[in-house]
Structure formats: C-alpha cells, structure tokens
C-alpha cells in the first residue's frame, strides 16, 4: 500500500516534468530531456552564484579557525532558500491536495497519506537546499584540500557534511510545514487575495533587490567582524553553533544537532498526524459574505465589458504581476526622478552638444521601455478560455469585446505614464514643443503596444489552458509584446545615434511619433477588420 502511495506521490512530483500543461498532453522524450537540461543549467547557474559567495567566505573564515561560522552562515542560507522554495509547495501538497478525500475514502491509514505527502515536500526541500549547500560543501572541501595541511579533509568531515545536508533538509521540511500551515490559515481567511498577493510580492521583490544590493557589503562586514559575530552566535544562538560545528566534522555536535532537529520534527509529526484528518477534510471556504440588495448601476455594453475586463485583471495576482508591473514602476520612477532631480540635471548638462531635446528623447525612451512592461492585452484573449462562449453568445460585437481589452490596457498604463511624464517634465524642464512631444509619443507607444499584444494573442491564442499561469507566463504573445517593445525602443535609440548628424533630436522625436502613430493605426485597422473575424471564429 505504502509503495503504491509513494508511486503516486512520485508521479505527482514528476508531473511538472512530464506534462505540458500548455498543450494538455505529455511531453516527448526530447521535450523532457530538454526541460531537464534547462533546469540543470539553471540549478548549476544558481549553484555557481552561491559557490562564488561561499568561496569568498570560506578561506578567510577557515584560516581564522571559524569553520563552524562558515557552515552556520551557509547552512542558514540553505535553510532560507529551502523554506522559501518549498513553503508554497507544502501549502499545496499538504493542506490543499485535491485527492485527500479520495485517498481517505480508501483503506489507507491517514498517517500513511501524511507520510507520503511529507516525502514529496521533503524531496523539494532537498532540491532547494542543495542549490546552496552543495556548492558550500564543495568550496569547503577545496579549501581543506588545497589550503590546509594534508589530511584535513577527513572521513568524519565528509560524513558529517552529508549528515548535515540531510538533517538540514528535515529542518527545512519542519519549517515549511509550520509556515505552510500559517499560509493555509491566512489564505483561508483572506479577502482580496490577489491584491494582497501582489503587495506581498512587490515587497518581496523590493526586499530582494535591497538585500542583493547590500550583499557584498554584508559579506565584507562578516569577514571584518567574524570573531565578534562568532562569539555572539556561540553565546546566544547555540543551536546555530551546533549546526556549524556539524559541518566541520565534530561528531558530538553532529549527534546533538541531529537529535535536536529530530525532536523538532517528531513534535511536528505528532501534531500533524493528530490533526491531519481534520485538516484534510476541513472546508476552508472564506467567510461567507451576506448578500444585500444595493442600488444598481446600469452600464452601457462597452462599459459592462470594460468592467468585466477590469474584474478579470484585479482577480488574478499572476496577471497583475506579470502583465501590469509597469503601473507600479512608472510612478516609482517618477518619484525617484523628482528625488534625484539635481543629479539628473547634472547628468544632462554633461551632454550640452546634444541640445535640450536630447533629454526629452532619453526620457521618451525610458518611458516607452517602462510602459512596455505592461502587456495586459497580450494574454487577454487566451484568458477568455472556457468563458469564451459567453462573449460569443451574448449580443456583443467582437470589436466591443476587443475594445474593452484595449481600453483596460490604456487605462491601467496611461494614467501612471502621465504621472511619470509630469515628473519627468518637472525634472528636465523641456521647451514647449519638446514637452508636447514628451506628452504625445509615450502614450501613442502604449497604444501601439496594446494593439500589438492583442493582435499577437488573436493570431496565437491558447484557450485550452488548465492553469491561468500558462497564458500569462508561458505565452509567446506576452514575451513578444514585452521584448518587442524593448527591442523597438532600443532600435529607435540606436537609429538616432546613426542619424543624429543629419537630424536634430527634436526632429527625430517628431518622426518617431509619426512612425509609432502610423504603426498603431495600422494595427488598430487590422484589429477592427481581421481581428474581429478571428475573435468571432475562435473555438
């Protein structure tokens, strides 16, 4: 029985590898091999980055006799990445599994189901932890072998490192179970889940970049104050000291640390085992909102379609984050420019030969690039998915359905763009004609991006997805729209440097505005004619 459950769990883990969710069928052997290759390269790349960090820390700390601090730091990094990588997987596998009731209806002991589910989570924990831990151990072994006297790399060191790798994976599993439970609880009670997810994700991205920008300084600081840091950790965080000592091959510390993590996991196992039945069968529906009849707001057909598109957009954190990030970043850029106004002006003064319109040209390039991060129309047709029958059977013209998608893109992008344009204008103080071009070109560019995204999606829609991340994240249309926008901006910028001997920046901007307007008009014409036919014929 347990064997059958393990087999099912492994199949579940392998699904992401074998099944192509975009096409809804299994991948070919070549496809699987390519995917494995891509992930292997990705993992090796990430591992190489951590190897670099580990190498920076390892030798100085080992030479200072603080091997354990090295393992304490790298061990904590492994745990952090492991928990971050597997906590949402734990949430889905353990607390939200769709087959819990099915398995519980069969003659299978709940503990066996829990055990097998934890095994699946543990495998992912191991993989994420390995990305940091294995390069760290390799870096350590290299230092022991090459820098320290011969015989420093002993069997006990090797065995203790392997033990630490496994024990840490259990620690990651234990933490993931606890945090997964917290996520499940919060998620069950959360209203406006998608908005909260977007905010949390943005905060995470900001923290990540903040941490990334300070990583090098932090490493230098650790190396500079290694002894003091070591004393603090040893005095106040003894379990972390034990973890570090395990990495150095200390048998007693290894035994104590293993016992400690074993005890922690045993407690978590007991709690989970006792509550699994309730947990697996609980109805986690959000608190029911009572319906009260309210005054009705009557809308026109196009108004109703636009509101429908807006509801679709704000209902999905994936859609907002992947296709609407520019909406957040443009005001941030505007405020950043206002704060750094004097720096920007100094920078522009250093290019006096380019003339005052050069600043506007640079600003337009930046604004167009930023606005290209919004690709709301690019997956919008695919996102109709199984609901397409509604748009097709209701008395709505195909153009009305498409226009609503365009309008949403424009609304969500043009308003923050306008704010950013005003900020830019305050900072660079353009002449009147340049200011007009600054106010016209980026919005027209947004028009073109919106039409282009919609056109590409109409030409290659994917209506048969099982998970909305597929049309949003894995669609060629989204990639083409985003990259296409950036490449066009880059191309036009490069062309300026070729033509600047013959054309002033102002004239070049004017020509760009005319060019982008013409492309937008052509795309709009195509959407109104061929595009509407394609939409009506979608199935």
């Amino acid at each position: 029985m347990l064997k059958a459950l393990f087999k099912k769990q492994l199949m579940e883990v392998n699904t992401w590898l074998i099944q192509d969710k975009k096409k809804g069928k299994n991948r070919s052997k070549l496809g699987v091999a390519l995917l494995i290759l891509v992930y292997t390269v990705l993992f090796i790349g990430m591992g190489a980055a951590f190897f670099f960090v580990a190498s920076m820390l390892c030798e100085p700390l080992v030479l200072a006799g603080l091997d354990w601090l090295y393992f304490a730091i790298m061990g904590l990094m492994s745990v952090l990445l492991g928990v971050f990588g597997s906590v949402f997987n734990t949430y889905a596998t353990l607390y939200m599994a769709k087959d819990n009731e099915f398995l519980l209806s069969m003659p299978v002991h709940p503990s066996a189901i829990l055990f097998v589910r934890l095994f699946g989570v543990w495998m992912w924990s191991l993989i994420y932890e390995a990305i940091v831990f294995i390069p760290s151990v390799i870096a350590y072994w290299i230092v022991l072998y090459t820098v320290l006297p011969a015989g420093s790399l002993t069997v006990s060191v090797i065995l203790c490192d392997i033990l630490l790798f496994l024990v840490l994976s259990v620690f990651v599993l234990a933490l993931s179970c606890i945090l997964g439970w917290v996520v499940a609880r919060i998620s069950a009670r959360l209203k406006n889940k998608s908005i909260v997810t977007v905010i949390v994700s943005l905060v995470f991205i900001a923290v990540y970049y903040w941490g990334y920008s300070r990583a090098y300084a932090a490493l230098q600081s650790i190396l500079a104050h290694a002894q003091a840091l070591g004393d603090t950790v040893k005095g106040k965080f003894y379990p972390i000291y034990l973890m570090g000592m395990t990495g150095t091959g200390d048998i007693l510390s290894s035994a104590l640390f293993t016992l400690m993590i074993g005890a922690l996991f045993a407690v978590i196992w007991m709690v989970l085992d006792r509550s699994f039945l309730n947990m697996a069968t609980a109805n986690r529906g959000a608190a029911k909102k009572a319906y009260r009849q309210a005054p009705v707001k009557v809308r026109s057909v196009s108004g109703a379609m636009l509101v429908k598109e807006a509801r679709r957009f704000v209902s999905s954190a994936t859609y907002m984050l992947n296709c609407g990030l520019g909406t957040i970043l443009m005001p941030v850029l505007g405020i950043f420019l206002l704060i750094k106004a004097s720096w920007v002006r100094e920078f522009l003064v250093s290019y006096p030969e380019e003339g005052p319109a050069f600043a506007v040209l640079l600003a337009c390039a930046g604004l167009c690039t930023m606005s290209s991060m919004n690709v709301i129309t690019a997956p919008s047709v695919s996102l109709e998915g199984k609901h397409l029958w509604l748009a097709q059977s209701l008395p709505v013209l195909p153009w009305q359905a498409l226009a609503a998608k365009l309008k949403l893109h424009l609304l969500v992008t043009e308003l923050p763009l306008l704010f950013c344009e005003i900020c830019v204008a305050i900072v660079i103080r353009p002449q009147v004609f340049d200011a007009v071009l600054l106010l016209i070109l980026p919005p027209v560019f947004v028009w073109m991006s919106a039409c282009f995204g919609l056109a590409v999606n109409l030409k290659s829609p994917n209506l048969h997805w099982t998970d909305e991340t597929i049309p949003v994240k894995q669609s060629m249309g989204v990639l083409l729209s985003m990259l296409g926008g950036w490449l066009l901006v880059m191309g036009l910028a490069l062309l300026y440097f070729v033509l600047r001997k013959f054309l002033s920046a102002q004239m070049y901007l004017l020509l760009c505005t005319v060019f982008v307007s013409m492309v937008s008009s052509a795309l709009l014409f195509w959407l109104k004619t061929r595009g509407t036919k394609l939409f009506a014929e979608l199935s």
């Binding site: 529906g285 009557v298 026109s300 109703a304 209902s315 029958w389 509604l390 097709q392």
Partner: protein, 235 residues
C-alpha cells in the same frame, strides 16, 4: 421562432451535423435527443452564434444569424452543458453584467433577480464569487441569467444536469410559463422521461442527421419515447 435550414457543420472530414432542418414555433418546447456525439451540442452552438457552420442557415425570428448575429443574439438566451461562468465575478456581478449587456433597466433587473434568485434559493449566495459555487449553483445562476431579459428563444444544453429535484421542477415550470408567454424553448437532454412529459415536439438526431421529428405523439405513437429512441438508435 427558430428555423434551421439544411445546417451542415464539418470537423475535418467528419460531418458533425448533416443537412439538418428544424422549425420551432413560438410557444413550443422542443426537445432534442440523441446519443453522445450525435451533434446536439454543435447544433445548439450554431444556433447560439458560437460555432460557425459550413452550409445552410439559421433564422431567429426571421433574422439570419449569419448576416445579423447581433440582432439574433439579442433575442436568445443560451445555456451550455457546462456553464463556465466568469468565476472572477460574484453571482450578483455576473447577473448585473448580463443585464447590462441586454440593456435591462435597473427596476426590471432588480425585480427579476430577486424573484428568480429567491425561487432558486440562491439569494444568500449572490455575494459569493462564482468560483465558490457548486455545479448546481452555477447552473441555477446560468438559468437566472438566461431568463433575465425575457428572451424570445431559450436554448439549453442538458439543463437539468446538476440541478436538485426542486430546482428541476422549478425549471420545468419556468419553461412552460415562458412558452405560455410566447417564447420558444429548444433544449437537449438525455433524460427521456423529462422530454416525454415536458416537450411539445421532439427531434432525434443520429450521427449528425435528423432521423425523426414532430409532435410527441407523431414521434412515439403508443410506445414510450425510450423504446422509440432505442429502436431508432439500433437501426
């Protein structure tokens, strides 16, 4: 109300609907029966303007769905076999969306939503997101949305699937009342007992071809509809 003239729809080499002609008059409940894959859903989708067809024509209240689909769609309501509604909306948001599209004024929609939601015992759930609805609740919501604009022609694909007995009974009553008001109903079903009791006329389709149609008496004679259907299927 609905005139299907020589409708043919191909999927590749296979004819899903083959030269099918039907005429449904106002006030009629027309049942459409056939085995799985016989062409019922394709026919209904073609009538609703969702599926394009290869030849023939479909007229709704005298207007061709090919040449003036918008006018036709304004007169009909369609409920598919699996009503995938906008699950990012709440029930009430969806109903208001449908009312906006069909131009139902505020007073009428409020009255109709209140009456229909109460009848289907869905009022308390109208503020919930549709994603939290069961299949039966989605079916009820789809039915309410279909009745919201008093359509002249209601087309339903397996409308009784997922409905509880009370809701099924209510739907049958609503179908009869709609026909009494002059609307027409065209629906597919596998439940032959329901078709036998409810329908004024019935059409049997096999491999895309209409093999028998007419009033219930003309089609089944003294036998049960089930016997006739099984006999025709075996031929």
């Amino acid at each position: 109300m609905l005139q299907i003239n020589h409708l043919t729809k191909r999927f590749g080499d296979k004819k899903a609907v083959d030269d099918l002609s039907l005429h449904i008059c106002p006030g009629e409940i027309y049942g459409f029966i056939g085995h799985n894959g016989a062409g019922k859903t394709t026919t209904l989708k073609s009538c609703a303007g969702i599926a394009q067809f290869d030849s023939g024509d479909i007229l709704i209240d005298g207007v061709s769905i090919k040449t003036d689909p918008l006018t036709c769609k304004g007169k009909i309501a369609y409920i598919p076999d699996n009503p995938d509604l906008y699950d990012f909306m709440t029930g009430i948001q969806f109903l208001n969306f449908i009312a906006d599209i069909f131009g139902v004024n505020a007073l009428d929609r409020q009255e109709r939503i209140a009456a229909l939601a109460d009848a289907f015992e869905l009022t308390a759930d109208l503020a919930q997101p549709i994603s939290a609805y069961s299949h039966g609740m989605k079916q009820k919501l789809a039915i309410i949305s279909a009745w919201l604009h008093n359509p002249k022609l209601i087309m339903m694909d397996e409308p009784f699937v997922g409905l509880d007995p009370k809701a099924s009974h209510l739907l049958k009553e609503m179908m009869r009342q709609a026909c009494d008001r002059g609307s027409a109903i065209f629906f597919s079903t596998h439940v032959l007992e329901v078709a036998e009791k409810l329908c004024d006329k019935v059409a049997i389709i096999k491999q895309g071809k209409l093999i028998r149609s007419g009033t219930m008496e003309e089609v089944k004679g003294d036998d049960s509809l089930e016997d006739v259907f099984l006999e025709l299927e075996e031929k």
